[in-house]
Protein backbone atom coordinates (compact mmCIF):
# COMPACT_ATOMS: atom_id res chain seq x y z
CA UNK A 1 0.00 0.00 0.00
CA UNK A 2 1.04 3.56 -0.38
CA UNK A 3 3.51 4.24 2.48
CA UNK A 4 2.15 7.72 3.02
CA UNK A 5 -1.33 6.41 3.37
CA UNK A 6 -0.03 3.90 5.91
CA UNK A 7 1.69 6.64 7.85
CA UNK A 8 -1.38 8.81 7.74
CA UNK A 9 -3.53 5.97 8.97
CA UNK A 10 -1.16 5.22 11.84
CA UNK A 11 -1.18 8.88 12.76
CA UNK A 12 -4.95 8.98 12.85
CA UNK A 13 -4.99 5.79 14.89
CA UNK A 14 -2.50 7.24 17.33
CA UNK A 15 -4.62 10.37 17.71
CA UNK A 16 -7.73 8.31 18.27
CA UNK A 17 -5.89 6.25 20.88
CA UNK A 18 -4.70 9.43 22.55
CA UNK A 19 -8.23 10.73 22.64
CA UNK A 20 -9.54 7.46 24.08
CA UNK A 21 -6.93 7.42 26.81
CA UNK A 22 -7.55 11.07 27.66
CA UNK A 23 -11.26 10.50 28.00
CA UNK A 24 -10.55 7.48 30.13
CA UNK A 25 -8.32 9.61 32.34
CA UNK A 26 -11.16 12.08 32.69
CA UNK A 27 -13.46 9.28 33.80
CA UNK A 28 -10.91 8.22 36.38
CA UNK A 29 -10.50 11.74 37.71
CA UNK A 30 -14.24 12.20 37.99
CA UNK A 31 -14.59 8.94 39.90
CA UNK A 32 -11.68 9.69 42.23
CA UNK A 33 -13.59 11.56 44.96
CA UNK A 34 -15.90 8.58 45.44
CA UNK A 35 -13.04 6.13 45.18
CA UNK A 36 -11.10 7.93 47.89
CA UNK A 37 -13.68 6.67 50.36
CA UNK A 38 -12.36 3.17 49.74
CA UNK A 39 -9.24 3.93 51.68
CA UNK A 40 -8.37 0.34 52.49
CA UNK A 41 -8.49 -0.58 48.85
CA UNK A 42 -6.09 2.20 47.95
CA UNK A 43 -3.72 1.17 50.70
CA UNK A 44 -3.66 -2.34 49.38
CA UNK A 45 -2.92 -1.07 45.89
CA UNK A 46 -0.06 1.09 47.12
CA UNK A 47 1.27 -2.07 48.70
CA UNK A 48 0.86 -4.08 45.50
CA UNK A 49 2.43 -1.50 43.24
CA UNK A 50 4.95 -0.03 45.62
CA UNK A 51 6.02 -2.29 48.43
CA UNK A 52 6.12 -5.33 46.20
CA UNK A 53 8.34 -3.49 43.73
CA UNK A 54 10.84 -2.54 46.40
CA UNK A 55 13.17 -5.44 45.81
CA UNK A 56 13.67 -4.84 42.14
CA UNK A 57 13.92 -1.09 42.59
CA UNK A 58 16.51 -1.33 45.32
CA UNK A 59 18.58 -3.91 43.50
CA UNK A 60 18.51 -1.92 40.30
CA UNK A 61 19.24 1.29 42.15
CA UNK A 62 22.26 -0.25 43.76
CA UNK A 63 23.69 -1.59 40.51
CA UNK A 64 22.95 1.56 38.53
CA UNK A 65 24.59 3.63 41.25
CA UNK A 66 27.61 1.40 41.25
CA UNK A 67 27.98 1.57 37.49
CA UNK A 68 27.57 5.30 37.68
CA UNK A 69 30.34 5.36 40.23
CA UNK A 70 32.62 3.33 37.98
CA UNK A 71 31.91 5.16 34.77
CA UNK A 72 31.83 8.53 36.41
CA UNK A 73 35.12 7.98 38.09
CA UNK A 74 36.76 6.89 34.85
CA UNK A 75 35.43 9.87 32.97
CA UNK A 76 36.23 12.45 35.61
CA UNK A 77 39.67 11.06 36.08
CA UNK A 78 40.52 12.27 32.58
CA UNK A 79 39.93 15.83 33.74
CA UNK A 80 41.45 15.34 37.13
CA UNK A 81 38.09 15.98 38.76
CA UNK A 82 37.41 12.70 40.52
CA UNK A 83 36.27 14.63 43.57
CA UNK A 84 33.24 15.67 41.57
CA UNK A 85 32.01 12.08 41.46
CA UNK A 86 29.48 12.76 44.21
CA UNK A 87 27.79 15.64 42.50
CA UNK A 88 27.92 13.93 39.10
CA UNK A 89 26.32 10.75 40.37
CA UNK A 90 23.74 12.55 42.47
CA UNK A 91 22.61 14.86 39.69
CA UNK A 92 22.54 12.14 37.09
CA UNK A 93 20.48 9.94 39.34
CA UNK A 94 18.09 12.45 40.81
CA UNK A 95 17.27 14.32 37.65
CA UNK A 96 17.32 11.63 35.03
CA UNK A 97 18.22 8.04 35.74
CA UNK A 98 16.07 7.57 38.78
CA UNK A 99 12.73 8.79 37.40
CA UNK A 100 13.23 7.08 34.05
CA UNK A 101 14.58 3.73 35.16
CA UNK A 102 12.12 3.50 38.04
CA UNK A 103 9.29 4.19 35.61
CA UNK A 104 10.47 1.55 33.16
CA UNK A 105 10.89 -1.03 35.92
CA UNK A 106 7.53 -0.07 37.33
CA UNK A 107 5.89 -0.58 33.96
CA UNK A 108 7.48 -3.98 33.70
CA UNK A 109 6.62 -5.21 37.15
CA UNK A 110 3.64 -3.36 38.52
CA UNK A 111 2.19 -2.19 35.22
CA UNK A 112 1.94 -5.67 33.77
CA UNK A 113 0.50 -6.99 37.02
CA UNK A 114 -2.21 -4.33 36.90
CA UNK A 115 -2.99 -4.85 33.24
CA UNK A 116 -3.22 -8.61 33.50
CA UNK A 117 -5.25 -8.51 36.72
CA UNK A 118 -7.78 -6.11 35.30
CA UNK A 119 -7.78 -7.87 31.94
CA UNK A 120 -8.50 -11.15 33.66
CA UNK A 121 -11.34 -9.55 35.57
CA UNK A 122 -12.68 -8.38 32.24
CA UNK A 123 -12.31 -11.83 30.70
CA UNK A 124 -14.08 -13.59 33.57
CA UNK A 125 -16.96 -11.12 33.52
CA UNK A 126 -16.16 -9.80 36.98
CA UNK A 127 -16.34 -6.23 35.72
CA UNK A 128 -19.67 -6.89 34.01
CA UNK A 129 -20.97 -8.58 37.15
CA UNK A 130 -20.11 -5.49 39.14
CA UNK A 131 -21.92 -3.33 36.63
CA UNK A 132 -24.89 -5.64 36.91
CA UNK A 133 -24.82 -5.28 40.67
CA UNK A 134 -24.97 -1.53 40.18
CA UNK A 135 -21.40 -0.98 41.35
CA UNK A 136 -19.21 1.17 39.13
CA UNK A 137 -16.11 -0.95 38.37
CA UNK A 138 -14.18 2.23 37.58
CA UNK A 139 -14.72 3.44 41.11
CA UNK A 140 -14.17 0.16 42.86
CA UNK A 141 -11.45 -1.51 40.84
CA UNK A 142 -9.74 0.87 38.46
CA UNK A 143 -9.25 4.11 40.34
CA UNK A 144 -7.74 2.53 43.49
CA UNK A 145 -5.21 0.72 41.32
CA UNK A 146 -4.48 3.89 39.38
CA UNK A 147 -3.98 5.90 42.55
CA UNK A 148 -1.83 3.14 44.03
CA UNK A 149 0.57 3.46 41.13
CA UNK A 150 0.61 7.25 41.17
CA UNK A 151 1.43 7.34 44.87
CA UNK A 152 4.01 4.59 44.72
CA UNK A 153 6.08 5.89 41.83
CA UNK A 154 7.68 9.04 43.31
CA UNK A 155 8.43 7.15 46.50
CA UNK A 156 10.08 4.37 44.54
CA UNK A 157 12.10 6.90 42.55
CA UNK A 158 13.31 8.57 45.74
CA UNK A 159 14.39 5.22 47.13
CA UNK A 160 16.14 4.45 43.86
CA UNK A 161 18.05 7.72 44.04
CA UNK A 162 19.17 7.19 47.60
CA UNK A 163 20.30 3.62 47.02
CA UNK A 164 21.97 4.75 43.81
CA UNK A 165 23.95 7.45 45.54
CA UNK A 166 24.95 4.91 48.12
CA UNK A 167 26.06 2.57 45.36
CA UNK A 168 28.11 5.31 43.74
CA UNK A 169 29.62 6.10 47.09
CA UNK A 170 30.41 2.43 47.59
CA UNK A 171 32.37 2.25 44.37
CA UNK A 172 33.82 5.73 44.45
CA UNK A 173 34.89 6.07 48.04
CA UNK A 174 35.35 2.50 49.20
CA UNK A 175 36.84 1.03 46.06
CA UNK A 176 38.28 3.91 44.06
CA UNK A 177 39.34 5.87 47.12
CA UNK A 178 37.76 9.16 46.20
CA UNK A 179 37.90 11.38 49.24
CA UNK A 180 34.68 10.87 51.17
CA UNK A 181 34.63 14.45 52.36
CA UNK A 182 34.90 15.88 48.85
CA UNK A 183 32.38 13.38 47.57
CA UNK A 184 29.68 14.61 49.90
CA UNK A 185 30.60 18.27 50.17
CA UNK A 186 30.77 18.80 46.44
CA UNK A 187 27.48 17.01 46.14
CA UNK A 188 25.91 19.24 48.76
CA UNK A 189 27.24 22.32 47.05
CA UNK A 190 26.38 21.22 43.58
CA UNK A 191 22.94 19.71 43.92
CA UNK A 192 20.16 22.22 44.22
CA UNK A 193 16.76 21.72 45.79
CA UNK A 194 15.41 22.49 42.37
CA UNK A 195 17.14 19.45 40.94
CA UNK A 196 15.42 17.21 43.43
CA UNK A 197 12.01 18.72 42.77
CA UNK A 198 12.46 18.44 39.03
CA UNK A 199 13.22 14.77 39.45
CA UNK A 200 10.17 14.34 41.66
CA UNK A 201 7.87 16.10 39.23
CA UNK A 202 9.16 13.83 36.50
CA UNK A 203 8.56 10.67 38.45
CA UNK A 204 5.10 11.84 39.51
CA UNK A 205 4.13 12.44 35.90
CA UNK A 206 5.68 9.14 34.85
CA UNK A 207 3.61 7.53 37.57
CA UNK A 208 0.43 8.97 36.14
CA UNK A 209 1.38 7.88 32.63
CA UNK A 210 2.39 4.31 33.47
CA UNK A 211 -0.53 3.66 35.80
CA UNK A 212 -2.98 5.12 33.33
CA UNK A 213 -1.67 3.01 30.48
CA UNK A 214 -1.70 -0.15 32.59
CA UNK A 215 -5.29 0.18 33.82
CA UNK A 216 -6.47 1.34 30.41
CA UNK A 217 -5.00 -1.67 28.64
CA UNK A 218 -6.47 -4.00 31.24
CA UNK A 219 -9.91 -2.41 31.16
CA UNK A 220 -10.21 -2.58 27.39
CA UNK A 221 -8.48 -5.91 26.96
CA UNK A 222 -10.14 -8.39 24.65
CA UNK A 223 -11.65 -10.98 26.98
CA UNK A 224 -9.58 -13.94 25.85
CA UNK A 225 -6.32 -15.40 27.05
CA UNK A 226 -4.59 -13.97 24.03
CA UNK A 227 -6.24 -10.62 24.58
CA UNK A 228 -4.98 -10.36 28.13
CA UNK A 229 -1.50 -11.30 27.02
CA UNK A 230 -1.59 -8.64 24.34
CA UNK A 231 -2.76 -6.06 26.88
CA UNK A 232 0.22 -6.87 29.08
CA UNK A 233 2.72 -6.50 26.25
CA UNK A 234 1.13 -3.28 25.09
CA UNK A 235 1.37 -1.89 28.59
CA UNK A 236 5.12 -2.30 28.72
CA UNK A 237 5.73 -1.00 25.22
CA UNK A 238 3.42 1.99 25.46
CA UNK A 239 4.66 2.88 28.93
CA UNK A 240 8.26 2.78 27.82
CA UNK A 241 7.69 4.99 24.81
CA UNK A 242 5.55 7.40 26.78
CA UNK A 243 8.06 7.69 29.60
CA UNK A 244 10.95 8.43 27.29
CA UNK A 245 8.91 10.90 25.31
CA UNK A 246 7.73 12.69 28.44
CA UNK A 247 11.28 12.66 29.72
CA UNK A 248 12.44 14.66 26.74
CA UNK A 249 9.51 17.08 27.05
CA UNK A 250 10.04 17.66 30.73
CA UNK A 251 13.80 17.94 30.52
CA UNK A 252 13.57 20.59 27.85
CA UNK A 253 10.80 22.34 29.74
CA UNK A 254 12.89 22.55 32.87
CA UNK A 255 15.96 23.87 31.14
Amino acid sequence: MNPFKELWRSLIEALVALGDVSRFLLRLILATPRALLRFESIVRQVFNSGALSLVIIMLSGLFVGMVLGLQGFQLLQRFGSEEALGVAAAIGLVKELSPVITALLFAGRAGTALASEIGLMRATDQLSAMEMMAVDPIERVIVPRFLGGVIAMPLLAAIFSVIGVYGAQLVGVQVMHVDAGSFWSQMRAGVDFRDVTEGLVKSALFGVACSLIAVYQGYYAIPTAEGVGRATTRTVVSSAVMVLFLDYLLTSAFL
Partner: protein, 271 residues
Protein backbone atom coordinates in the same frame (compact mmCIF):
# COMPACT_ATOMS: atom_id res chain seq x y z
CA UNK B 1 -50.02 -15.65 28.99
CA UNK B 2 -50.65 -11.90 29.18
CA UNK B 3 -53.28 -11.98 31.89
CA UNK B 4 -51.16 -9.94 34.26
CA UNK B 5 -48.89 -7.20 32.94
CA UNK B 6 -45.64 -8.63 31.68
CA UNK B 7 -42.66 -7.70 33.77
CA UNK B 8 -40.55 -7.52 30.63
CA UNK B 9 -42.27 -6.33 27.52
CA UNK B 10 -40.49 -6.39 24.16
CA UNK B 11 -42.16 -5.26 20.94
CA UNK B 12 -40.63 -5.13 17.48
CA UNK B 13 -37.11 -5.06 18.75
CA UNK B 14 -34.37 -4.42 16.20
CA UNK B 15 -30.73 -4.65 17.13
CA UNK B 16 -27.63 -4.98 14.99
CA UNK B 17 -23.96 -5.61 15.67
CA UNK B 18 -21.56 -4.26 13.05
CA UNK B 19 -24.32 -4.03 10.52
CA UNK B 20 -25.44 -7.60 11.02
CA UNK B 21 -29.02 -7.75 12.29
CA UNK B 22 -29.26 -9.77 15.48
CA UNK B 23 -32.91 -9.06 16.19
CA UNK B 24 -35.29 -8.32 13.40
CA UNK B 25 -38.67 -7.60 14.93
CA UNK B 26 -38.64 -9.52 18.19
CA UNK B 27 -41.76 -9.78 20.39
CA UNK B 28 -41.35 -11.25 23.85
CA UNK B 29 -43.40 -11.07 27.06
CA UNK B 30 -41.98 -12.30 30.32
CA UNK B 31 -44.78 -13.03 32.76
CA UNK B 32 -44.16 -12.16 36.40
CA UNK B 33 -43.67 -14.94 38.91
CA UNK B 34 -42.90 -17.50 36.26
CA UNK B 35 -39.81 -19.27 34.97
CA UNK B 36 -39.38 -18.31 31.32
CA UNK B 37 -36.78 -20.06 29.21
CA UNK B 38 -35.17 -18.47 26.17
CA UNK B 39 -33.66 -21.00 23.82
CA UNK B 40 -32.18 -21.06 20.38
CA UNK B 41 -29.26 -22.29 18.31
CA UNK B 42 -25.82 -20.79 18.91
CA UNK B 43 -25.45 -17.25 17.75
CA UNK B 44 -29.11 -16.30 17.77
CA UNK B 45 -28.39 -13.59 20.28
CA UNK B 46 -29.72 -15.06 23.50
CA UNK B 47 -27.00 -13.44 25.58
CA UNK B 48 -27.45 -10.23 23.60
CA UNK B 49 -31.09 -10.22 24.61
CA UNK B 50 -30.10 -10.51 28.24
CA UNK B 51 -27.70 -7.63 27.83
CA UNK B 52 -30.46 -5.50 26.36
CA UNK B 53 -32.83 -6.36 29.18
CA UNK B 54 -30.24 -5.46 31.80
CA UNK B 55 -29.29 -2.27 30.01
CA UNK B 56 -25.74 -3.29 29.20
CA UNK B 57 -26.50 -2.64 25.54
CA UNK B 58 -28.39 0.48 24.59
CA UNK B 59 -28.64 1.13 20.86
CA UNK B 60 -31.80 -0.69 19.89
CA UNK B 61 -35.00 0.31 18.18
CA UNK B 62 -38.39 -0.84 19.31
CA UNK B 63 -40.12 -1.05 22.64
CA UNK B 64 -38.32 -2.49 25.64
CA UNK B 65 -39.99 -2.11 29.04
CA UNK B 66 -38.45 -3.76 32.09
CA UNK B 67 -40.32 -3.65 35.41
CA UNK B 68 -42.24 -0.66 34.20
CA UNK B 69 -39.15 1.28 33.06
CA UNK B 70 -38.57 2.26 29.46
CA UNK B 71 -34.98 1.17 28.90
CA UNK B 72 -34.28 3.80 26.27
CA UNK B 73 -35.07 6.60 28.69
CA UNK B 74 -32.91 5.44 31.56
CA UNK B 75 -29.76 7.33 32.51
CA UNK B 76 -27.06 5.79 34.64
CA UNK B 77 -28.71 6.52 38.00
CA UNK B 78 -32.00 5.02 36.90
CA UNK B 79 -30.21 2.08 35.38
CA UNK B 80 -28.33 1.33 38.57
CA UNK B 81 -31.55 1.66 40.57
CA UNK B 82 -33.24 -0.84 38.25
CA UNK B 83 -30.33 -3.26 38.47
CA UNK B 84 -30.62 -3.34 42.23
CA UNK B 85 -34.00 -4.97 41.68
CA UNK B 86 -32.49 -7.61 39.43
CA UNK B 87 -30.08 -10.43 40.05
CA UNK B 88 -27.95 -12.00 37.36
CA UNK B 89 -26.12 -15.27 37.25
CA UNK B 90 -23.30 -15.11 34.72
CA UNK B 91 -22.19 -18.04 32.66
CA UNK B 92 -19.07 -18.78 34.65
CA UNK B 93 -20.27 -17.42 37.94
CA UNK B 94 -18.17 -14.27 37.71
CA UNK B 95 -17.28 -14.27 41.38
CA UNK B 96 -14.81 -11.61 42.48
CA UNK B 97 -11.59 -13.54 42.81
CA UNK B 98 -10.08 -11.39 45.50
CA UNK B 99 -12.93 -12.03 47.95
CA UNK B 100 -13.90 -15.27 49.67
CA UNK B 101 -17.31 -16.88 49.34
CA UNK B 102 -18.84 -15.01 52.25
CA UNK B 103 -17.55 -11.65 51.07
CA UNK B 104 -18.71 -12.32 47.54
CA UNK B 105 -22.26 -12.93 48.66
CA UNK B 106 -22.09 -9.98 51.04
CA UNK B 107 -20.78 -7.68 48.31
CA UNK B 108 -24.10 -6.18 47.14
CA UNK B 109 -25.17 -5.67 50.75
CA UNK B 110 -21.99 -3.87 51.64
CA UNK B 111 -22.12 -1.70 48.57
CA UNK B 112 -25.75 -0.69 48.61
CA UNK B 113 -26.92 -0.89 52.21
CA UNK B 114 -25.81 0.35 55.60
CA UNK B 115 -26.86 -2.77 57.40
CA UNK B 116 -25.00 -3.65 60.58
CA UNK B 117 -22.44 -6.43 60.32
CA UNK B 118 -24.53 -8.92 62.29
CA UNK B 119 -27.47 -8.53 59.97
CA UNK B 120 -25.29 -8.89 56.91
CA UNK B 121 -23.84 -12.05 58.36
CA UNK B 122 -27.28 -13.50 58.95
CA UNK B 123 -28.50 -12.63 55.47
CA UNK B 124 -25.43 -14.05 53.79
CA UNK B 125 -25.52 -17.28 55.74
CA UNK B 126 -29.22 -17.68 55.01
CA UNK B 127 -28.70 -17.33 51.28
CA UNK B 128 -25.72 -19.65 51.35
CA UNK B 129 -27.84 -22.17 53.24
CA UNK B 130 -30.50 -21.91 50.54
CA UNK B 131 -27.99 -22.99 47.91
CA UNK B 132 -26.42 -25.54 50.20
CA UNK B 133 -23.02 -23.91 50.62
CA UNK B 134 -23.11 -22.39 54.07
CA UNK B 135 -20.14 -24.54 55.06
CA UNK B 136 -18.00 -23.15 52.26
CA UNK B 137 -18.21 -19.56 53.45
CA UNK B 138 -14.47 -19.21 54.11
CA UNK B 139 -13.27 -20.67 50.81
CA UNK B 140 -11.83 -18.58 47.98
CA UNK B 141 -13.43 -18.78 44.51
CA UNK B 142 -10.38 -20.50 43.14
CA UNK B 143 -10.98 -23.39 45.51
CA UNK B 144 -14.52 -24.04 44.31
CA UNK B 145 -15.64 -26.44 41.63
CA UNK B 146 -17.64 -25.09 38.71
CA UNK B 147 -20.94 -26.13 40.14
CA UNK B 148 -20.17 -24.76 43.58
CA UNK B 149 -19.02 -21.47 42.11
CA UNK B 150 -22.25 -21.10 40.28
CA UNK B 151 -24.26 -21.79 43.39
CA UNK B 152 -22.33 -19.10 45.26
CA UNK B 153 -23.03 -16.72 42.40
CA UNK B 154 -26.68 -17.64 42.71
CA UNK B 155 -26.64 -16.88 46.43
CA UNK B 156 -25.09 -13.53 45.59
CA UNK B 157 -27.73 -12.86 42.98
CA UNK B 158 -30.57 -13.33 45.46
CA UNK B 159 -29.00 -11.63 48.47
CA UNK B 160 -30.72 -8.32 47.74
CA UNK B 161 -34.10 -10.05 47.27
CA UNK B 162 -34.51 -9.06 43.63
CA UNK B 163 -37.73 -9.13 41.67
CA UNK B 164 -36.16 -10.59 38.55
CA UNK B 165 -33.49 -13.26 38.36
CA UNK B 166 -31.63 -13.75 35.13
CA UNK B 167 -29.61 -16.86 34.34
CA UNK B 168 -27.13 -16.77 31.45
CA UNK B 169 -26.46 -20.36 30.35
CA UNK B 170 -26.36 -21.74 33.89
CA UNK B 171 -25.85 -25.38 32.89
CA UNK B 172 -22.77 -25.08 30.71
CA UNK B 173 -20.00 -27.47 31.73
CA UNK B 174 -21.75 -28.95 34.74
CA UNK B 175 -21.83 -32.58 35.69
CA UNK B 176 -25.29 -34.22 35.95
CA UNK B 177 -25.46 -33.85 39.70
CA UNK B 178 -24.55 -30.16 39.77
CA UNK B 179 -26.88 -29.60 36.87
CA UNK B 180 -29.72 -31.20 38.76
CA UNK B 181 -28.94 -29.08 41.79
CA UNK B 182 -29.08 -25.84 39.82
CA UNK B 183 -32.28 -26.90 38.08
CA UNK B 184 -33.99 -27.56 41.37
CA UNK B 185 -32.72 -24.29 42.80
CA UNK B 186 -34.06 -22.30 39.87
CA UNK B 187 -37.53 -23.72 40.38
CA UNK B 188 -37.59 -23.62 44.15
CA UNK B 189 -36.18 -20.11 44.48
CA UNK B 190 -38.63 -18.84 41.93
CA UNK B 191 -41.60 -20.26 43.79
CA UNK B 192 -40.45 -19.66 47.36
CA UNK B 193 -39.21 -16.12 46.81
CA UNK B 194 -41.89 -15.14 44.32
CA UNK B 195 -39.37 -14.16 41.67
CA UNK B 196 -39.57 -13.89 37.94
CA UNK B 197 -36.85 -16.04 36.42
CA UNK B 198 -35.47 -15.71 32.91
CA UNK B 199 -33.24 -18.57 31.89
CA UNK B 200 -31.17 -18.52 28.74
CA UNK B 201 -30.06 -21.97 27.84
CA UNK B 202 -29.87 -24.42 25.03
CA UNK B 203 -30.23 -27.48 27.19
CA UNK B 204 -33.72 -28.13 25.86
CA UNK B 205 -34.72 -31.09 27.92
CA UNK B 206 -33.26 -29.86 31.17
CA UNK B 207 -34.83 -26.46 31.12
CA UNK B 208 -38.12 -27.73 29.80
CA UNK B 209 -38.53 -29.70 32.98
CA UNK B 210 -38.72 -26.55 35.13
CA UNK B 211 -39.85 -23.79 32.79
CA UNK B 212 -43.40 -22.44 32.68
CA UNK B 213 -42.95 -20.78 29.30
CA UNK B 214 -40.45 -21.22 26.53
CA UNK B 215 -39.36 -18.89 23.73
CA UNK B 216 -37.40 -20.34 20.82
CA UNK B 217 -35.42 -17.72 18.92
CA UNK B 218 -34.22 -18.15 15.39
CA UNK B 219 -33.24 -15.78 12.63
CA UNK B 220 -33.67 -12.74 14.82
CA UNK B 221 -37.31 -13.44 15.60
CA UNK B 222 -39.35 -15.65 17.84
CA UNK B 223 -39.72 -18.99 16.09
CA UNK B 224 -41.96 -20.57 18.66
CA UNK B 225 -43.45 -19.81 22.04
CA UNK B 226 -45.58 -21.56 24.59
CA UNK B 227 -45.46 -24.09 27.36
CA UNK B 228 -42.74 -26.74 27.05
CA UNK B 229 -45.14 -29.50 26.07
CA UNK B 230 -46.55 -27.29 23.31
CA UNK B 231 -43.12 -27.12 21.79
CA UNK B 232 -42.68 -30.85 21.97
CA UNK B 233 -45.88 -31.27 20.01
CA UNK B 234 -45.04 -28.54 17.50
CA UNK B 235 -44.81 -29.34 13.83
CA UNK B 236 -42.61 -26.34 12.94
CA UNK B 237 -39.40 -27.37 11.19
CA UNK B 238 -37.31 -24.98 13.23
CA UNK B 239 -38.67 -26.40 16.46
CA UNK B 240 -38.34 -29.97 15.33
CA UNK B 241 -34.71 -29.53 14.37
CA UNK B 242 -33.86 -27.82 17.65
CA UNK B 243 -35.71 -30.17 19.93
CA UNK B 244 -34.64 -33.23 18.05
CA UNK B 245 -31.07 -32.12 17.82
CA UNK B 246 -31.04 -32.74 14.09
CA UNK B 247 -27.81 -31.73 12.37
CA UNK B 248 -29.42 -30.25 9.28
CA UNK B 249 -32.59 -28.32 8.74
CA UNK B 250 -33.53 -24.67 8.91
CA UNK B 251 -30.17 -24.17 10.62
CA UNK B 252 -27.92 -25.53 7.88
CA UNK B 253 -25.09 -27.96 8.48
CA UNK B 254 -22.81 -26.43 5.89
CA UNK B 255 -21.33 -23.01 6.34
CA UNK B 256 -21.97 -21.10 3.11
CA UNK B 257 -19.28 -22.08 0.58
CA UNK B 258 -18.85 -22.14 -3.19
CA UNK B 259 -19.66 -25.23 -5.20
CA UNK B 260 -17.73 -28.23 -3.76
CA UNK B 261 -16.98 -29.98 -7.00
CA UNK B 262 -15.94 -26.76 -8.60
CA UNK B 263 -13.58 -25.95 -5.76
CA UNK B 264 -11.95 -29.38 -5.81
CA UNK B 265 -11.38 -29.22 -9.52
CA UNK B 266 -10.03 -25.70 -9.40
CA UNK B 267 -7.49 -26.67 -6.75
CA UNK B 268 -6.28 -29.42 -9.05
CA UNK B 269 -5.90 -27.24 -12.13
CA UNK B 270 -4.41 -23.87 -11.25
CA UNK B 271 -1.52 -24.05 -8.95
Amino acid sequence: MNSTAAIVEIRDLHYAINGRAVFDGLDVDIAPGRVTAIMGPSGTGKTTLLRLITGQLREYTGKLIVAGQDMSALRRAGLYALRRRMGMLFQNGALLTDLNVFENVAFPLREHTDLPERLIRQLVLTKLQAVGLRGAAELMPAELSGGMGRRVALARAIVMDPEILIYDEPFVGLDPISLGVILRLIRRLNDVLGLTSIVVSHDVHEISSVADAVYLLSGGKVAARGAPRDLQASSSEVVRQFIGGLPDGPVPFHFPAPDYFGELLARGEDH
